[in-house]
């Protein structure tokens, strides 16, 4: 029998004692496979009169292993029949019944012979604790317990404050600075310089250095593909910065490069997309025109 926690064993024993009308200590001892306590047994007659000798005490075994006595008997008879040996004497079994069995005249009848009526009163259903599956015994998760905090209030409060701060920032900015609106769209008058939206100005800056095929298609195409495939290219499992010096350096080059190109395209390019110094020649950047004015 597996090691059961004491309190579960006791609960089971109490339930059994209540159902069978026997003292709890006795059943508990039976379950633990120990000797019954010295206290006088008050149970039903023949079940408790354990006789010694070479015979098997089926009642004790039934209590010990949690297998009903009729099943034990049947197994014993089956083994005896298979081995061709005599059935050992059974403690607690009526003498004439044992005799009938030993002559192997009618084993089935012996099995069918009713035992002394024990059990719960009619109409009461009892339940038996079959086994206790300890957590992790069948399905191990292998995860270490982690230091966690409740999302409410710890995370939600922070998120809500961040949301309010962003809303306040945008409302204030919008109250004081209008979005740019230039003259009506005119197909015949191209402004100089003509600049793409600011997030494409890094690409437009590249156009000043490379062939359009390279700057407009190959570099952004391969750039996006490389970005998307980062997890499948970088096979290093560690997330510690000390182990990822190469990956971090490479990404930093990309990040700084993209930022510098965008800032260059935005602030350092003037008429004809030629290089200008914003502090001497002025800023030619309409996206933020209303903010910078």
């Amino acid at each position: 029998m597996p090691q059961l926690p004491e309190h579960l064993l006791r609960r089971s024993a109490e339930a059994k004692a209540k159902a069978q009308g026997r003292p709890v200590e006795e059943i508990l001892a039976e379950m633990k496979g120990e000797e019954a306590p010295a206290a006088p047994a008050q149970g039903t007659g023949d079940r408790d009169q354990v006789t010694g000798g070479e015979g098997r005490d089926l009642d004790a075994e039934a209590g010990k292993y949690g297998v009903p006595r009729p099943l034990l008997e049947r197994a014993m008879f089956a083994r005896a029949k298979a081995d061709g040996t005599a059935v050992p004497a059974m403690a607690g079994a009526p003498a004439e019944q044992a005799a009938a069995v030993s002559s192997q005249a009618s084993a089935a009848a012996a099995v069918a012979a009713p035992a002394a009526p024990v059990g719960p009163p009619p109409g009461v259903r009892t339940q038996r604790l079959l086994t206790v599956v300890k957590a992790g015994a069948i399905q191990g998760t292998g995860t270490e317990p982690q230091d966690k905090v409740n999302v409410w209030p710890h995370l939600l409060a922070i998120e809500f404050v961040a949301l309010l701060a962003m809303l306040a920032f945008l409302t204030l900015l919008s109250a004081y600075v209008d979005a740019p609106l230039l003259e009506f769209a005119n197909f015949n008058e191209q402004p100089n310089p003509s600049k793409a939206p600011w997030y494409f100005l890094g690409l437009q800056e590249l156009l000043a250095y490379f062939d359009p095929q390279v700057a407009g298609v190959i570099i952004p195409g391969f750039g996006v593909a490389a970005l998307a495939f980062i997890p499948y290219i970088d096979r290093n499992p560690s997330i510690r910065p000390a182990d990822r010096k190469f990956a971090i350096s490479l990404f930093t080059v990309f990040f700084v490069g993209a930022s510098v190109l965008t800032i260059f395209g935005s602030f350092f390019r003037g008429p004809g997309f030629n290089f200008v110094f914003p502090w001497t020649d002025g800023i030619f950047f309409d996206d933020l025109r209303t903010i910078l004015e």
Binding site: D147, K148, V149, N150, V151, W152, P153, L155, L156, I158, A162, L163, M166, L167, L170, T171, L173, S174, A175, V177, D178, A179, P180, L181, L182, E183, F184, A185, N186, Q190, P191, S194, K195, A196, P197, W198, Y199, F200, L203, Q204, L207, Q213, G216, V217, V224, L227, A228, I230, P231, Y232, D234, N236, P237, I239, P241, R244, F251, F255, D286, D287
Partner: protein
């Protein structure tokens, strides 16, 4: 409850009504058990769990997160702010749709009317435009943050790819919206941008034709980009966002600690 004259003061009346309201069946049907809005709520670990678990929030957040994840310095809230900006842009965008016609020259006149005729029109347009710029920034910075934390490593590889798609969709949403004011800035910025698409090898002309609905930008382009901006791209990005958020939960929440 009553003042010296035996009358019930306004403050007491309001407090009493609020108390009745918070005990009413209607109120309790709206706020599920554990909500701090309920009158019978008390602060306990169980009720803190219920605030998330008994709530539509459970689609976004687990009941508990790793302790290092709630530090503001870890995420800078960039992903959450991107999502909030998307919601804010949807709300302000719906407002703008009431006053905007994607035809030439009405589109430009409607922009002027927003500034002069419509209550809060200019404010909402400003919020929409600045918010869009900020969203491009936060999405890009969110990607950078995720990279430096190595949060794209298994099992989160695919969610990184979904994130790259979301970045591209954010850029496309911003770019399609750029044309809508129909002023010189919009027209020529989009001209420069879509000229780059013409350099696509082999079928550059076809790409440009499909993108701007013709050989050059016309009022047809305006309608096309309007539909892309207010319907098609938001529809696509919401689907990808749903996958993105779901995978954040399923892949074990925040990565780390480092």
């Amino acid at each position: 409850m009553a003042d010296g004259n035996g009358r019930v003061g306004i403050k007491e009346a309001v407090t009493g009504m609020a108390g009745h309201l918070r005990k009413s069946q209607v109120w309790n049907s709206i706020f599920r058990p554990g909500s701090p809005m309920r009158s019978d709520n008390s602060d306990s670990p169980r009720n803190r769990s219920y605030v998330v678990m008994n709530n539509v929030l459970y689609h976004l957040h687990p009941v508990k997160v790793k302790r290092h994840g709630v530090r503001l310095s870890y995420t800078l809230c960039l992903g959450g702010l991107s999502f909030f900006l998307f919601i804010l842009l949807t709300i302000t965008g719906i407002f703008l749709m009431f006053y905007y016609r994607p035809t030439s020259p009405q589109a430009y006149f409607d922009m002027q009317a927003l500034a002069t005729d419509i209550a809060f029109g200019q404010l909402v347009r400003n919020m929409h435009r600045w918010g869009a710029h900020v969203m491009v920034l936060t999405v890009f910075l969110h990607m950078t943050r995720v990279f430096y934390h190595g949060a794209y490593k298994p099992p989160r590889e695919f969610n990184w790819v979904v994130g790259i798609v979301l970045l591209l969709l954010t850029l496309l949403l911003s770019f399609t919206g750029y044309l809508l004011p129909w002023d010189q800035l919009a027209l020529w910025a989009v001209t420069v941008g879509s000229n780059m698409a013409a350099y696509t090898p082999v079928f550059g002309d076809q790409v440009t034709f499909a993108l701007i609905g013709g050989i050059q930008i016309t009022a047809d382009t305006l309608l096309r980009w309007y539909v892309l901006h207010v319907l098609f791209l938001p529809f696509i990005i919401v689907i990808f966002m749903a996958v993105h958020f779901w995978r954040v939960r399923k892949d074990g929440g925040l990565s780390g600690p480092l």
